[in-house]
């Protein structure tokens, strides 16, 4: 019985996060449009898009791995989200966080990426592996400052358990990691720019170079699943950052407010800067952000 309730809670949790994520993407489109002096699509456009793609009568498949790619991707998004507590103290939104700690979440992010990379690979279109090669390379570089930040807060809170980390930040804004360990947060936020893949780090989907990138051959329901996941995955990442660095959330509105603000950081930067070339991006992450990350570890551990 317990398990069924847990599953129902998880379903609710995922539904909320997905819808929220879709709206978030809609808002981002709107903001980009306004920066470009366009009116832009309505904020609910992503939801319409998903309904539309799922409604396609015919889908083209290149093979089993191609078929499973989006499934892997979606499973990755759902898993990442489900292994995290979303709202501090809430039973419904605590998900399956008892299955593992921060390391699990960090590694589960790769699950979907890897599966999708394989599925896209079977599509046989050259843009897919090109995009994936760029994506994997960039991922390895922004992972370095991010992991330094994670290590830094693990030292700070003496735990890798996300719930405990959130608990430690309760009781006022000044208890947030943002203020107790600013160097780690800076390093992590720069990594987030890479993770979110907005400009200047939009190497994977880079429209003018490798249009659409890995999902180029995806269509119909395949694409629909990918779009759904994009929303869910985006909110999962934001929740992770909120939990680790911005005190977590005790209720839904706070969660939305905080994650929205975190997202806007990369959106604003994305709207303001042009794209890096791949090697420029890799070098960028391996330089200043890494140094900041190292500093944050040294400061916390040895000073």
């Amino acid at each position: 019985m317990d398990i069924f309730i847990k599953i129902i809670y998880a379903a609710i949790s995922i539904l909320v996060a997905t819808l929220y994520g879709l709206i978030l993407i809609g808002i981002v489109h709107k903001i980009y449009a306004r920066v470009h002096r366009r009116i832009g699509p309505p904020v609910w456009q992503p939801i319409l898009d998903i309904i539309q793609t799922h409604g396609r009568k015919v889908a083209t498949s290149h093979g089993i791995m191609f078929f499973l790619g989006p499934v892997f991707r979606m499973a990755g998004g759902m898993g990442t989200y489900l292994f995290m507590p979303v709202i501090f103290g809430s039973v419904v939104f605590s998900n399956y966080s008892m299955a593992g700690d921060l390391l699990l979440v960090m590694y589960f992010i790769f699950f979907g990426q890897l599966g999708m990379a394989l599925g896209a690979g079977e599509g046989g279109h050259p843009y897919s592996p090109l995009g994936i090669a760029r994506g994997l390379s960039q991922m390895s570089t922004f992972e370095l400052p991010f992991s330094l930040a994670v290590i830094s807060i693990a030292i700070q809170y003496q735990t890798l358990n996300i719930t405990t980390i959130v608990a430690a930040q309760q009781g006022g804004m000044l208890n947030w990691t943002l203020f107790t360990n600013p160097l780690a947060v800076i390093a992590a936020m720069i990594s987030l720019l890479g993770m979110n893949m907005h400009s200047p780090f939009s190497l994977v989907l880079a429209p003018q170079e490798i249009p659409i990138g890995p999902p180029i051959e995806m269509n119909g329901s395949f694409l629909g699943i990918l779009q759904t996941n994009r929303a869910l995955f985006a909110s999962a990442k934001l929740v992770l950052f909120m939990n680790l660095f911005f005190g977590g959330a005790t209720n839904l509105p706070i969660m939305m407010l905080k994650t929205f603000s975190i997202y806007m950081f990369s959106v604003f930067i994305g709207a303001a800067f042009p794209r890096f070339r791949p090697e420029q991006s890799f070098r960028f992450f391996l330089r200043i952000p890494t140094l900041i990350g190292i500093l944050s570890v040294i400061v916390i551990a040895y000073l």
């Binding site: 498949s61 008892m98 299955a99 890897l114 046989g124 592996p129 390895s140 890798l160």
Partner: protein, 1038 residues
Amino acid sequence: MVNPLYLIIISLMAGFVLPLLDRVNRKLSLATFIGVLLANTVITGFWMHGFIQADLGTLSFSTAGFTAPLSINFQLGILEAFVLLAINLIGLLTGIYLLKKFNESPLAGMILFIMVVMGANGLILTRDLFNAFVFMEILSISTIAIITLKRTNESLSSGFKYMLASGIASIFFLLGVVFIYFFSGSLNLDFININFTDYRLIAVYMVAIALLIELKMFPVNGWALDVYESTDAGVATIISVINSTAIAFMFYKIMPLLPSNFLYIFGIIGALTYLMSNLMGLKQENARRLLGYSSIGQMGLLLASIIFTAGLEPVLRIMIVGGFFLNHLIAKTGLFWISGLIKKEKLKDWRVIRSNKSLMIMFGIFIFALSGFPPFAGFWAKWEFVKSLLAGQNILIIALILLGSLFEVIYMFRWFIQTVKGEYKEDELSIMPSGKVILTTLLGTLGFGLGILIMKNYYGFNFLFTLPILSLLFIYLIDFLPAKIKGIMSLGGLAYYGYYLYTLVQFENPIQILFGVIFLVGSGVNLISTLNRSEISKGFYGLLMMMIFSFGSLLIARSYLEFFLSWELMTIASFLLILRGKNAQKASLMYMIFSIAGAYLMMVGFGFAPELIGSSALITGLTYVQLPLISIILLALGFMIKSGVLGVHVWLPEAHAEAEADVSSFISAILLKAGIWGFLLVAISVVWNAPQFDVYYWMGWLGVFTALVGAFLASFQEDAKRLLAYSSMSQVGYIIAAISMLSHLGWVSAFYLSLNHMMFKSALFIAIAGVYYRTHTRNMYEMGGLIKKMPLSFISVLISIIAVSGVPPLSGFGSKWLMYSSFIERGWYLQAAVLFFASAVSFLYLYRLIHTIFLGQAKYEHKDVKEAPVWFIIPQYIFIGAIMVLSTFPNLLIKPLSAMASQYFNSNIVIDGYNVYSSYGHWNGNLIMLVTMGVFIVPLFFLILFIGKITKVKQFNIVYAAERPESPQTTHVAHNMYAHYRKALGGWGKPRIWDFWHGSAEWAHTMGDFFRRIYSGNGQTYLLHIILFFVVVFFLGV
């Protein structure tokens, strides 16, 4: 006991009788010639027998009816008997070897040959210095005469140079003898009882220098090289073995007269000769001259061993000096004989030897013996010698000798590899005279038997430790059987061996069981893949079983020597296995060089280690001793070389890539773990007896950077096997770092990783072996889209790469979780960050591996490719099954591993049901698996339900840059896939370590070439060397 005088008398008589008999019939004189040599051998054999039967002490025989010092006396002890027997036996065999030649050449050859042997015999027996001078003259003059018998310009001029050098030496010797008589009033070694100090020093110095010149010490040996190069094989044997032995024995006799500081210098000269002649040997391309360099080097080693073992107990001294002596005697005689059979000057022309199987095996035996591998006498001698030198703190000598030995191994094995692997045309086959081949085979067997004798009788090794050698021999006997039968027999043998070890030997420590699983069970499953061999695969299973049984011996070794012996046997077997690869020349040579260097470090490391107490396995024994820091460093370095740690990893990709497809998985998945096993043993000894300096902190960093660099290098490979090889390097880096942490969680993760790596890397290598078997290429960019042709291989690679990458829910995540938790817990924060980076980079190569081979666009030429053979699929799926089980039920593994590590450290992980708690976090492998399955199934069902009609299209169905490419396979993204990353790395991407080793190799060769130039070939220059040598050494000593 026959009077030794008869040795002289018989030979002298033969000298007079032979011309008469020759008038009658050549056959008669030949028979007499052999008869004399045989008589010598029989007499000395009886002596040896007598001395072994009863302790007769040292016998003295006087001549001419007077006792010494009035007349000359001969001394005969067990030592003399031994040396005499050895050289007379070689004399006899060489005589037989040269029979045909003597039959065709003038009679003088036979007489001179007998004179050489007689001179040597006399020199060994006599106690009278002037008499010794006489015998030395007989020896020299007859040698010179026999050299010049071959009437070519080269041999005449080299004989003349020999005459010059030995003339000077004789003058020194005679003057020295005169002075000795003047100062001490006696010529008899037994009656000279004054100290040769101050001005009297010159007397003994001159005698000693004369002997050093005759012994061809560096640098006064140019003349000898010319001799070796220009004479016949048989004559070279005499000079290298009989002549030199007698002189070396003479030196041994006058040693008590020499002051200790001079002895020390002479010892250094000996060691230096060994080093320099081997260094110069590096540049040699002429086989005979190479053997000359090696002979001279061995004489230097012999001299050094005679001098530096002076204080040891007699049995040990005989083990060392006698070991070097016999090793040199047998191996060098054999090689000179073969050189006479082959009649090729250039090293690379020796490949004709492949036309004669038994000769080739003998060639290998002699090379391995000279290089000091077990079970040959040189191995035991070197082990004991290094140990005794360490006891005497003679570090300089050890360095000289081991470096020299390394150079020797390099050129010997380069030659060996060139010979066994070189191309040869059928018409190059020369018909070898079978008598000589049999003689050579006899000699090789003798050397081998002698080694086994030492091993069994002196050291008393039990059956398990000889098993690797025995299995090699046994499978060689049944090598005519088809590969499948041998494979199944091997599998059965291995199963019984594992059972035997488990039940009867009784492991003392559960860690032994873990590594037993890695070594033996892992090998067993890997063995299944070899059943795909359809041809007979000569030699393969013998070597394979030799390697596997050596792994087993490593586990149960109870002493340093047992461990080192098994280690060396493992090296031999794995080297020969790698060499079986088609283009494995360079790879196997590099493997050998690095292995030997590692082995020498280990040898010195073990030498420094304190004696073990009791007779338990090393894993127990080592916990109770305090290893000195130097020992820890040397041993750890030695083991890390075998595991391919950053800096010494360059052999690794070559060996993995070039070995046969089904061998690579053994090397990567199991052989590397042998290094880990050794590294772990050293670490175990440190747990309770830590040195002052925290050396493991730095080893941890080394491991961490190995992981990172390995991952990057793997990402930039085009060759699938090289990619996997570098991936192994990276994974081994993790393990080394985790062991270096010396903490509970660290060791749990090291154990977990070791087992996990064995499984997924085996599966990957076997999968790639299957792909290679079908596509005949290792270049990933020449493949693509094979998922449809080889789906089973694809699934196996898929599961394996998920396990490597550490993505949940598979077992790889367990290792990552344990590792990061342990690093953070241990306070190694920055190291943990580097590992995070390394494992992120590992996604690059993993994706590259699976994408470029199985995904993307297929090649036209692979349109008819089939799934890999079933023998490749079975072992893969056994491993995959094991990975899946351990992923779902991680407790099966974590619990015992935690228990293993808690023998040494306090456990700080709590296991509660499926939950594992560290002090930092937790992990529930079972729940993760369930959730993952859940989140996977939901979208899958959704997709299946809602997708509507699916149109399946072929791979080629793409539109690219607004066109449908005519040849879609050209759009496969594979070659130089991470070019942008390389660009981003800039100067960091340069192969600096590779450059370093290339530079070192070149530097050594240049040095060799540089020093070689002092041998101008000009007799006058050689004389100048001698005079300078005389003066310089004297002033060094004073």
